[in-house]
Amino acid sequence: MLQITGVSRRFGDVTALADVSLEIRQGEFFALLGPSGCGKTTLLRILAGFESPDAGTVTLDGADLLGQAAHRRPVNLMFQSYALFPHMTVAKNVAYGLEREKLPKAEIRDRVGEVLEKVGLSAMAGRRPQQLSGGQRQRVALARAIVKRPRLLLLDEPLSALDKKVRAEMQLELKRLQHEVGITFVVVTHDQEEAMSLADRIAVFNAGRVEQVDEPVALYERPRTPFTAGFVGASNLFAGRACSAGLAADGLGVLPGASDLPDGTPALLAVRPERLRLGVGPGGASGGGPGGAGALRGEVADVSFYGGVSHVSVVVPGRAEPVLVATQGATQVRAGTRVVLSWAPGDGVLVPQ
């Protein structure tokens, strides 16, 4: 439905977007995920019409989008700051876009009432934005955008201004609303958990480039670039060269992993902390346990208990950073315990470097 092809944008010597191509499908909840300053807002502003790319094309339903003026595009943007009009009531804010379409007064009134009901703000219709809480403002901004029934709704860090508890509530709400109104959402975020929980598909951005586009689970389980492996969820990364059994790691020997890379390719092996198994005791044989290859020996440096899970960091000789292990519930090991780390070959993901 939305086709972005080869879009680039530079500001002086900063490259905000470098040859970005994406395809976004009808009715999808799509997330742009990346660290601050990687060009996410710039891409949204190009789609909304406040910025134009140096190169590339964007089509919506097959028609060129870049040639249209911002106020003619069937696309709405929810600003990071919400940009509510302070001199208008909530109802006026929401009605503003419909008034511009020159709709009959009665229809405007009905649609405003309907959308305020949908976001649970009917009681606040007569208030001014200054008299609302952060979460309520966020809903007004959302209502003001969806009442226009755009083909595409762009949301720039919609939840970043909210505190943690409200944010969790609004995540659910956002998903429910998207489902109800059936509008294609493109949401920008730097919070990988938020992207994971909201989106149908995620595009990971790094320094103006798209690193990987995938569904959340695939992105988490099969990162295809070193950046994605490091950015999406916590990961233990080992550097080395691909071999038939997995990875020949620098200074650590062969580590198990599933690979279709040609032998000898420089690669990273990514293992999620919750996929690692801890074996206790000095007798743990290398290459050992059933169903998995023992791989590394080390000594526990630190244990932290987080209610449901425990995080154990293990210092492995030959490796600078400790290896992070997440186990269910409380664990028996203490700082100083000698342990063996193992994982199934399928849980080690090889990423070309």
Partner: protein
């Protein structure tokens, strides 16, 4: 800790210094005698004289025409200038030139305008004073509105465009209401500056149509009469009223908008 009463002495002295002359002026305007220095009794005599003075009456009318006209012109032009500079120009030089007339010495502006009027063969009269006052009034309005604009969020204007408003609608529905307090302040400034402006008016007015400051100046050259006190008291009352009304109005527009 108790504060020493002595600390209040400079405070009261300053206020005395500021307001004693004004108080004397107001009191003397109700003097029944002729002497500007000794108070002989209460009377409204000088206000009567003032009302009968055709020169002052004409001067007042001229001043009000000039002030009202130049305020309207400078408010509209100054606001447009500020918006243009803030939203559509990146040039620091243009920015500086835009507000320059506000800081230029009056004398320079006056001579410059006079030379300009002569070179385009424009006759002098109220219109020439009005235009001259618009030159600096516009710069003041632009400076005030410009400050307000830099505190305004550009994303409001973008949001308006995003919701389907064209540039003109966005200006009138979003930008202008945001700027209203700044525009009101700028207009008041332009008005008060124009009412008591002397140097530029002196250079650019026709001798047959003097503004009030010029009339007063020619009167005091022959000594201060109690009539002048009465006039000053009236002006004081007017400017107090204007300031208070303006404050009320800004609060009103702020609560309305």
């Amino acid at each position: 800790m108790r504060r020493s009463r002595l600390l209040y002495v400079p405070f009261y002295a300053t206020y005395l210094f500021l307001y004693a002359p004004i108080a004397v002026l107001v009191v003397m305007s109700f003097n029944s005698g002729d002497s500007p220095y000794s108070f002989e009794g209460l009377s409204l005599k000088w206000y009567g004289e003032l009302a009968g003075n055709a020169g002052i009456r004409d001067g007042l009318v001229n001043t009000l025409v000039v002030a009202a006209g130049s305020t309207v012109l400078s408010t509209v032009l100054g606001t447009l200038l500020a918006v243009g500079l803030a939203r559509h120009s990146r040039s620091k030089v243009l920015d500086a030139i835009g507000v320059l007339p506000a800081v230029l010495p009056d004398l320079v502006l006056a001579i410059g305008l006079l030379v300009f009027y002569a070179s385009v063969k424009m006759t002098l009269g109220l219109h020439s004073v009005l235009l001259a006052h618009t030159v600096f009034g516009m710069a003041f309005v632009a400076a005030v509105v410009r400050t307000r604009l830099t505190h305004c969020d550009t994303s409001l204007e973008e949001a308006s465009r995003d919701l389907g408003a064209n540039a003109v609608t966005t200006f009138f529905r979003i930008t202008l209401p945001q700027l209203a307090p700044g525009i009101t302040a700028g207009a008041l400034l332009a008005f008060t500056l124009s009412v008591d402006e002397f140097v530029i008016a002196f250079f650019t007015a026709a001798p047959t149509e003097p503004t009030l400051p010029i009339v007063i100046y020619s009167m005091v050259r022959f000594g201060v009469t109690p009539e002048i006190n009465a006039l000053a008291t009236l002006l004081l009352a007017v400017s107090f009223t204007v300031v208070i009304v303006a404050q009320r109005m800004t609060r009103l527009t702020e609560s309305l908008s």
